[in-house]
Symmetry: C2
Subunit: 353 residues, 2 copies
């Protein structure tokens, strides 16, 4: 592992997108969000995705100069057409629209269509939290690895649910979870490390536990709570995909295998302005109190600490800002091969040791 | 088991509440919703709750003549004060407010406070679906049986999530799930039948599987997906409880043990008018198509049918409307002891055989 400084990663990603003709401000926004993903430990959604994104851009599978815009709106809703731009740009735009509407209407629901993979949901929930909002976020995943409960057809993805609740003194409560027991990135990581998967992550097409991650293409991810997680993944897909006219079910494009088809990815988010329900500071303090009750409670034998959702990412962000974040030698080599290909400066560790 | 006709149950419940001085229209609304719960097979939330509800009413733990009203509102939000009335009345009122606001603003978020147990979440999602809405529903459960992940303090409940998506020809997609592997009612049912619980439902205070449902008071329910379900239960509680100034965490009153304290129960719901995102019929038809893709897909060996969320309840509703719904002899006896106590006609099977 090499420690990469946040700023070095940000500049590298920026240079990569700028080299492909992206506008300065767009390259900057994408780079900041992608490096933020690594900073919080979402290493399956940060700089590791750069080669795939750039491959898609170079294959014209992404619109370099999208006209991201609101196409239908009401006082508390908006439908955003992402014009096949990078998901990071589309979803950031959608959050801003949602926040603005929630400030005037109390709450707002925003759907995107013709968006793309946007990295970890938590980035956008953090953006909303930064503006004092309560936020729920839903997305249709970019490859179907989940079947309906009892079924074999891969009609569903790991469709994530994320939520953010603002606090006063404590780190915000920030949940970001796949509706499957394991996200597909974790399966790929097991394969890379030559490890077996635990029982409960995947089954094969006979319903038997599948433990070899190299055989994952033959299997199905399992939803959390059996039929309940299937129900959640379905609802998330209907809200984030179907409602806004984005891809869902058999229309989902596997963006790992296909670098050119328009993915028509959909995301959806709810913003609630806490001041619409009373004194927002009193609310934030109630959340703090609950956080402290939970953290300070009795623990099961062998448990050192009770974590709140988002707290570990919060701590990593502080730590990695100092030390840089870890990148494997394999990934670093891959990124620097990309750099040579597209003619940008290589990525170096660039952390003052 | 005795088959009880829907209408007989409805009249019986109506008579029970009318006998306690409830207004005619309120008794009627509560009775319809409670009988509807049994009609769809939510037998832990229907007529079985009548003795407990009436006990609370007679102990003045419920306000017989509540002034249920909007206390703060914005174009897309409302905070409803239930004035400690029956939850069924408060939540039905909240749905109507939410639907009205969503029709004009596109979407609406409504919180309740000073509400009470309202039966199954799906009843209110159905109410919203009947008006063409997409709906999400969250509630704080009325007794804490769940600890934070790694913890022992019962700070969380089985906080349910429900969601409804309207369809055209197909039954609506209607999810209604506890965020725990098993709802507490299922544990009580196991005890009643003298059966052991499967591994994964509960643990004891050492973290070991707890299998004896008669020892459930010593244990903790397990959340779906481990830490993920804990995160969901927490977010649901923050949205449905804390945001609206209702009870959450250590403030939750165990309404099974305490019949007089004001529970300050909170519920929250989101309504989205599909027409705010385009042609609502086209949307409904897309949902139908997805439902058919799922139902018609390949199945795992031994699986007879792939179910959509809400489909089994839908089929029961049709069947039980004909045949009546099953009530155990024990429950029937208990209900008829109550009838004698409060001076109403006993409940009889009243289904034309």
């Amino acid at each position: 592992m090499t420690q990469i400084a946040y700023e070095a990663a940000r500049r590298f990603i920026h240079a990569a997108f700028a080299s492909q003709g992206f506008a300065e401000s767009d390259a900057n926004q994408i780079a900041t969000l992608m490096a933020d993903a690594d900073l919080q430990g979402s290493d399956g959604h940060g700089i590791i995705r750069l080669p795939q994104y750039i491959k898609r851009v170079r294959a014209n599978g992404i619109n370099r100069h999208p006209n991201i815009r609101v196409i239908i709106e009401h006082p508390a809703t908006a439908l955003i057409d992402g014009d096949n731009g990078m998901g990071h740009l589309v979803v950031s735009f959608a959050v801003e629209v949602g926040v603005r509407k929630a400030r005037s209407a109390g709450a707002a629901w925003v759907n995107t269509r013709y968006s793309n993979h946007a990295g970890p949901a938590s980035l956008y929930v953090r953006q909303a939290l930064g503006q004092g909002m309560v936020c729920l976020y839903f997305a249709v995943g970019n490859a179907n690895h989940l079947a309906p409960w009892g079924g074999l057809d891969l009609l569903l993805s790991t469709n994530p649910i994320a939520a953010g609740i603002p606090t006063d003194q404590e780190p915000p409560v920030l949940l970001d979870m796949a509706t499957t027991v394991a996200a597909y990135g974790k399966v790929k990581a097991k394969a890379k490390r030559g490890e077996q998967m635990p029982v409960g992550w995947m089954i094969d097409r006979l319903g038997k536990p599948l433990l070899d991650p190299n055989r994952s293409a033959e299997g199905l991810l399992l939803p959390i709570g059996g039929h309940k997680g299937y129900g959640l993944a379905l609802i998330v897909g209907l809200l984030a995909g179907t409602l806004g006219g984005a891809a869902m079910g058999r229309d989902v494009v596997d963006f790992n295998a296909d670098h050119t088809s328009v993915t028509n990815t959909g995301q959806a988010m709810l913003m609630i302005a806490p001041e619409a329900f009373g004194d927002p500071l009193a609310f934030r303090r109630s959340v703090d109190q609950l956080v402290r009750d939970i953290r300070g409670g009795q623990r099961l034998p062998g448990v050192d600490r009770i974590w709140l959702p988002g707290e570990q990412s919060h701590e990593r962000r502080v730590r990695y800002r100092e030390s840089g974040f870890p990148v494997s030698e394999v990934l670093l080599k891959e990124l620097n091969m990309l750099a040579a290909e597209i003619g940008i400066e290589p990525l170096t560790r660039a952390v003052a040791a």
